[in-house]
Symmetry: C2
Subunit: 709 residues, 2 copies
C-alpha cells in the first residue's frame, strides 16, 4: 500500500513482522508507548519515530526527594450520618489506598473541609486522628462529608494500564509543575530526554501535566470517571496562586462540589469557570515552553487527547498558544473522531480502538467484531473531517495472532487512505445551513457533551449521545453553542438548533431556561423560520409544574405530576410523514420519556400514552420533538430527516441520497467523487440518488465505494 | 332479606318493581336524585324517604333576578406568546361558553390579572374589547395569560348529568350564598322546601354550596377536574370578606396559581391554606344553619360527599360544626370507601358504582363486570371500617333489564349486611402498630391523596394510589400525617411510615425534604426502630443532583443525570426474601422508575438496570423501597409483607393469613368470627391460618365466608 498516514506501535522482538506490516499497511511512522520500548532495529527502520513522553511521571526518584511536588487531588467522602454528637469518618474508607494518601503535611484545617450536608453548612469543630476525621458537637442525624487534599501516589492512567496488563513495575508518581523548581526540573529533564532520544522525530506528549478525574474505590475498582475534570489540578500552591490572580480564594467545596466534582453535566459556577481558566492558562503556558524546547531540538511536538489533558481544553481559547504540530486521539466512534479532527491544530491523528491488549486479543476474543463498529462510525466522521493520520495502540504480537484482524486493518487502511486520495482534501457536500447543538457549555465542549469518558456507554447518556454521533457524519457544518451565544445574537448563523438532555443538566440547560432573554431569542428565531429540535427533556425548567419552557415552540409538554388534573389530548399518531419515511418497524428511543403530551404538535409516534416523536409549526419555523435517540442507522436517518424538515429543506435530502439508511453518501463535488459507505456489518443494497440520477448499489459488510459524479 | 341499611333510588312508574326489590334487598329507604322524582306511591311505601336537595341550584328565577348572586369562578387562559408589541387574548377560546361567561360587571381592572409568564410579572397595560384582552406594549416573544372572573352559567355537576343523559331541561344556575340576601333567600327556600316535602325523613344535601373544580373546554368536554379545588368559591364579596378577615388581599393569581388552580398535588402556599380555611369556616357555618333548620323541622340531614362539597373538608377542623346526621358518598374502590367511612360523623352510607345510567346499562353493557371489582375493593375497606348503610344511584328501570345484575346486587347486599350481623360492630383484628401515610397535607386529605377525582384512573396517580388502595383493607390503623406532624413529634405513635409520589409534588413532599429538622426526625425515628417505606420518588428534593434526601435510610438513590460519572453497583437481585414470598411471576410496578441504584440496600428486584424493590437496615429500623405499586392482589400482598417486615413484625402476618394472595382474612376476635373474602373474580382456593391452625378454603368468584374462631 502507498506509504504514509499510518503510525504503528512498535514492539521489541517483532522487528521482522513489523517490517512486513509496514509494507502491507504503508506505515510511515512507528511509536512506543507506556509499557513498550522501541529496539534500535525498530528505530532504524526508516520510519518516522514517535516517542511517548509523559514528563510528569517520568522520574519517581525526583518526586520522592521533593514530596512537596507530588501531585494532589481533592476528594470527598461519602455522606456519613451522625447518630450521636460525635462522628468519626474514616476518610479513605471508599478510596483506593494505593492511589491516594491524605495530605496532612499542609494545614488540614485550612485545606480540608467538613460539611454538614443536612444543614448545608461547614463545621470547624473537628480533629484528625491519623485515619478518621472526628467531628465534635455533631448534630445528631445530620449527615457529614469530609473534603480532603490527598497525594496522588499512583498516576491513574498508568495504574489502569498496570492493573489491566498485570505489570510488576514500580507505581509511577507524578510531579506537579505548579512550583518553579518542578518546572525547572521538568524542562531540564525534557532537554536531557531530547538528547537521550536523538532518533525521535516526534515527541508524543501523553499528555501534559494533570490527569482527568479517575478515582478508584477501596476495592481498586473505578469509582468515578470524569474525562473533563479538574479536581486533580489542585494543590496548596495552585489555590494560593489562584487567590492572587482572581482576588478571591477557593475552598475544597468549590472543587468537590457536593461530590459532583463539577462534572460538566452540571451547569458550571462562576468559580468553577474561573478555576478552569486559571488552569488552562497555566497548562497552556508551560506546555508551550515544553513544545518550544522540542521545536528547538528540531523535533515535532504532538499531544495525545486524553490522559493528562486537563487544562489543555482543545476548544478553549488558550489551546492554540501551546503551538502543537498535531493532536492524536483515541477514536472510538464518530463523536470522539470529530472531537479530535475538529480541533484547531495543523494536523490530527486518530488512534483507533481496540487497543491490541490481552483483554480482547485473547483466546475467544473477537478483535474484528470489536473493531468493525468503531471503524464504521469513525469513517462517517472522517468523511466529514478526516484525520491526517491513523494509528493503533498496544502489542503487535497480540494482533498478529489474529490474521483476519490483520486483513481487516488492511481494509480499514485502504479505506482511510482513500478519503485523502479520492477526496483530495476538498470539503464534502454540506447543506446550505449550519446546525448548532445548544447547551450550557457551547464551543468549549464541542463533541464532548453527554459523556462521562471516551466512548464509554452510560445509561444516562446514550439516548442523547446517539444524536451527537449521528451529527458527526452528517452533511452539515455542526457547531456547539452556549446560551450566552444565543443571547449575543449568534442564532442567525444557524438553520437548525438542537437542545437535548435530562432536565436540570448542563446539556439541556437547567436554570438558563428561566431567563426571559434566552427564551425570547429562541422563540423569535424559530418564529422567523428557524428549526428547533428537542430530544428528551429540552428547555426543561420546572415552573409551577410546567417543565418545558419552550412548550409553545415544541408543541409538547411533560406531565411531572402537578398538572395531573388537566386532561391530556388523545394520542392518535400520524405515522406518515417526511421524517419517518425511511423507518422500518419500531423506533428505538433508548431510555425514552414518559407522559409527554401534545400542546399543539402533530404526533408521529407514541408509546404508553407518551408522545415519542412530534413535529410542530411555529410561525415560519418548525420544531421536532424526539423522546430519545440512541445511535443506529435508522435513528441517524430519522434525525437527518428531522433536521432537513425543521430547516424547510426537505428537497436537499435527496441531493445525495440512499434509499437504504444503512448506506450513506458523502459527495466531494470539487473532486468529482461520491463515496458510498455501508454503515453496517452485513451486505446492503440500495438505490442511490446523485442529483436526481438514480442507480442501485450493493456493498459488502463495512463496504466503501467511490463513484464519479 | 332482613330489612335495613339499604337506600334505593326511586323512579316514578316503577312502583311495583321497587316494592319487589325492596323485599328482595331488605330496602328501608328510598330516595330521589337530580333527574328523578318520587311519586306519591313511592313516598307512601313505608320506607324512609330521602330527598335530594341542592339549595344553591334550586331556583333559577331568583338568580336571574339577582345576577350579582350568581356563582363565579377564577379561570386562567392558556399561555399566549406575543409576536409583536400588541397581543389579543380571546379569553374564552379554550372554555365552554355554555358553562362560563366572563364577569365584566365588577371592575375587571381590579379582579382580572394579566401576567407576563416569561418574566413572571403582572402587566396593567391592557384593555378589554368584549371578547379579547388586548395587551399593549407587550414584550415580543413573552407569553401572557389572563386570569379572569367568570360567572358560572351552568352548574357543572348538573351539566355533566345533563350532557351524559341528554336532558332537555333548562341549564341550572347556582346561587352564591356569600351575600346575606342570598343566604336569607336560601334559608327561606329551605324552610319552604321542608314544608313542601312533609314526607321527607332525611334531607340529602347534594351538596352544600360550592362545586369542586370541573372546567369544560371549548368543545364542551372536560378540561380540568380537581375534586379538591376551591376555585369556584371565589367572588368579589368573598375576596373582600377574606381581606377583612385575614388582613391581606388575594389576587387572581393566588387562586389560579399559574394554571394549577392550587391542585393538591402542589405543596400548598400559606395564602392558599388561608383561602381554604376561610371557605371552610364560611361553608361550615352556613351549612350548620341549614342543618339546624332541617333538624328544627324534625328531619335528619345528610351530606353527599362530592359535588358541591368544597369547603366542607370532612377531615378539616370545621366539619363537625355542621352537625350532620350522616355522610353518604360514592364508593368506587377501597380508597373512596374509607374516605367516606373514616369521616368523624355519626353514620356513613356508601353509594356503590356503577350508576344505573344508560352508558353502562345499555345493550352490550356489562353492569356486573363493572360492579364486581368495585364491590371487591369496597368490601375490603368496609371490613375494616363499615358504612352503616349502602345504596345505589340512577334508574331502577335500567337495572331491571339485567336480571343477573339484580342477583349480583342481592349477593352484595347479603355480604354487606353480614359485615354488621357477623362483625357485630366490633373492631376487626388490627396489628399492634399504626401505619402513617406522610405527605404535605396530612390528616386533612385522609384517603384523598394521589387522585384528581373520585376513582378516576390517572396515569400519574395509579402507581401510588394502588398502595393507598391496598392500605384501605389492611389490618392496620392507618393515619395520614403531615411534615408538621413529624416535626411536632408525632412519629412515635407509628410503627411504619409510607412516603410516596412523584418528586416535587405534595405527596412525596418536595421542598419539605430540604428541611433538616424533618430529615433528622425521620432518620432518628427509623434508626431507633421505625419502618419506612418509600414508593416512587420518596423524600425527593434535587440537591446537587442527589434526589432522595433519605437515601441513607432507604439505601437507594436515583440518578438524574448529574452524577452519571459515578459508577453504580452491579445489580444482582436476591429474589428470596420475606417480602417476596407470595409473589408469582413478575411484579407490576406500574409507571415505575428508572435508574434507581442501591447505596447500600439489599436488592430484591430490578429491570433495565434500575432497582425496583429493595430493603435496607438502618440502625434498629428498616426501610423498603418500591418503584411503584398499582393495585392488584399480588401487589397488596407485597405491601402487606413490606409493612410487617419494616415493622419487624413478620410473625404477625401469619396470625390470620391466607397462602393465596387473592384470599384475605379479616378477624373479628371479639365477635369470634373470621371473614374470608375472595378478592378476585374467579374461584380461589387457599390455606388459611388462624392463630396457627390451618385449613383449606375454597371460595367462588367474589366469595365471602364467615368462619368461627
Amino acid at each position: 500500500m502507498i506509504k504514509g498516514r499510518f503510525t504503528l506501535p512498535g514492539e521489541t522482538g517483532m522487528e521482522k513482522e513489523i517490517k512486513e506490516l509496514a509494507k502491507l499497511w504503508g506505515v510511515d511512522a512507528i511509536r512506543d508507548s507506556d509499557g513498550t520500548k522501541l529496539s534500535q532495529d525498530l528505530i532504524d527502520m526508516g520510519l518516522t519515530v514517535y516517542s511517548v513522553l509523559c514528563l510528569v511521571r517520568d522520574d519517581n526518584e525526583w518526586v520522592k526527594k521533593n514530596p512537596d511536588c507530588l501531585q494532589q487531588i481533592y476528594l470527598l467522602t461519602e455522606e456519613h450520618t451522625a447518630y450521636g454528637t460525635e462522628l468519626a469518618i474514616d476518610i479513605m474508607s471508599t478510596f483506593f489506598d494505593q492511589q491516594f494518601k491524605p495530605n496532612t503535611d499542609d494545614d488540614i484545617k485550612k485545606y480540608w473541609q467538613v460539611m454538614d450536608r443536612t444543614a448545608g453548612e461547614e463545621t470547624k469543630d473537628w480533629d484528625w486522628d491519623g485515619k478518621n476525621v472526628i467531628i465534635h458537637n455533631a448534630k445528631p442525624f445530620h449527615s457529614y462529608t469530609v473534603a480532603f487534599l490527598a497525594y496522588q501516589i499512583w498516576e491513574p492512567v498508568s495504574m489502569y494500564n498496570h492493573i489491566t496488563n498485570n505489570w510488576q513495575t514500580e507505581h509511577e508518581l507524578t510531579v506537579d509543575p505548579r512550583s518553579e523548581k518542578a518546572r525547572e526540573h521538568l524542562l531540564k529533564r525534557l532537554d536531557k530526554w531530547l538528547l537521550d532520544h536523538p532518533k525521535t522525530d516526534v515527541v508524543r506528549f501523553t499528555t501534559f501535566f494533570y490527569c482527568f478525574d479517575l478515582i478508584y474505590n477501596q476495592y481498586g475498582k473505578e469509582k468515578t470517571v470524569n474525562w473533563f475534570g479538574y479536581a486533580a489540578c489542585v494543590s496548596p500552591k495552585a489555590l494560593s496562586d489562584f487567590e492572587k490572580e482572581y482576588g478571591y480564594s477557593l475552598c475544597a467545596e468549590d472543587i468537590v462540589a457536593g461530590g459532583t466534582y463539577n462534572t460538566p453535566f452540571k451547569n458550571p459556577t462562576k468559580k468553577y469557570l474561573d478555576w478552569m481558566e486559571f488552569n488552562c492558562k497555566f497548562v497552556s503556558e508551560f506546555a508551550r515552553q515544553c513544545v518550544e524546547a522540542v521545536h528547538k531540538a528540531g523535533r515535532k511536538a504532538i499531544m495525545f487527547l486524553g490522559d493528562h489533558w486537563a487544562g489543555t481544553e482543545p476548544y478553549g481559547k488558550y489551546f492554540q498558544n501551546i503551538g502543537l504540530d498535531m493532536v492524536v486521539g483515541a477514536a472510538g466512534d464518530g463523536v470522539t473522531t470529530r472531537m479530535i479532527t475538529d480541533i484547531p491544530v495543523k494536523e490530527t491523528e486518530a488512534r483507533f480502538y481496540p487497543y491490541f491488549f490481552p483483554d480482547i486479543f485473547c483466546e475467544g476474543g473477537d478483535p474484528v467484531g470489536e473493531s468493525m463498529p468503531v471503524w464504521i462510525k469513525c469513517r462517517r466522521a472522517m468523511l466529514r473531517r478526516p484525520a491526517a493520520r491513523m494509528g493503533y495502540g498496544g502489542y503487535i504480537s497480540l494482533a498478529l495472532k489474529f490474521p483476519e484482524f490483520i486483513d481487516h486493518v488492511t481494509e480499514i487502511t485502504r479505506q482511510f487512505k482513500s478519503i485523502h486520495e479520492e477526496g483530495k482534501g476538498t470539503k464534502p457536500y454540506t447543506a446550505p445551513f449550519k446546525v448548532a447543538v445548544l447547551n450550557s457549555w457551547g464551543h468549549i465542549k464541542s463533541w464532548q457533551t453527554h459523556q462521562v469518558a471516551h466512548s464509554l456507554w452510560n445509561q444516562r447518556c446514550y439516548s442523547y449521545l446517539g444524536a451527537v454521533e449521528a451529527l458527526s457524519g452528517f452533511p452539515f457544518d455542526v457547531e456547539f453553542i452556549s446560551f450566552e451565544d444565543v443571547k449575543a445574537g449568534k442564532l442567525k448563523e444557524y438553520g437548525v438548533v438542537l437542545n437535548m438532555g435530562d432536565a436540570m443538566t448542563s446539556w439541556s440547560g437547567g436554570e438558563n431556561w428561566n431567563d426571559p432573554e434566552l427564551v425570547c431569542a429562541i422563540r423569535q428565531w424559530v418564529y422567523e423560520g428557524g428549526g428547533f429540535i428537542g430530544i428528551g427533556e429540552p428547555t426543561a425548567y420546572n415552573k409551577d409544574g410546567r417543565l418545558f419552557a419552550l412548550s409553545d415552540v415544541l408543541g409538547v409538554q411533560k406531565e411531572i405530576g402537578i398538572t395531573a388534573s388537566h386532561n391530556k389530548p388523545a394520542l392518535t399518531p400520524n405515522k406518515e410523514h417526511f421524517i419517518t419515511e425511511d423507518i422500518c418497524g419500531a423506533i428505538d428511543y433508548g431510555e425514552g420519556m414518559s407522559m409527554i403530551y401534545s400542546t399543539g404538535a402533530e404526533l408521529l409516534d407514541e408509546e404508553n400514552r407518551s408522545a415519542n416523536l412530534c413535529v410542530n409549526e411555529y410561525g415560519k419555523g418548525r420544531a421536532v420533538y424526539i423522546a430519545g435517540l440512541p445511535y443506529s442507522n435508522q435513528n441517524a436517518r430519522l434525525l437527518l430527516r428531522a433536521i432537513y424538515y425543521s430547516a424547510h429543506s426537505e428537497q436537499e435530502l435527496y441531493k445525495y441520497y440512499s434509499s437504504n439508511p444503512a448506506l450513506e453518501c458523502h459527495a466531494f463535488e470539487e473532486a468529482g467523487k461520491l463515496c458510498v459507505v455501508n454503515n453496517s456489518e452485513t451486505p446492503q443494497e440500495g438505490e442511490i440518488s446523485i442529483n436526481g440520477k438514480k442507480r442501485t448499489i450493493s456493498l459488502g459488510s463495512m463496504g466503501c465505494e467511490w463513484l464519479n459524479i
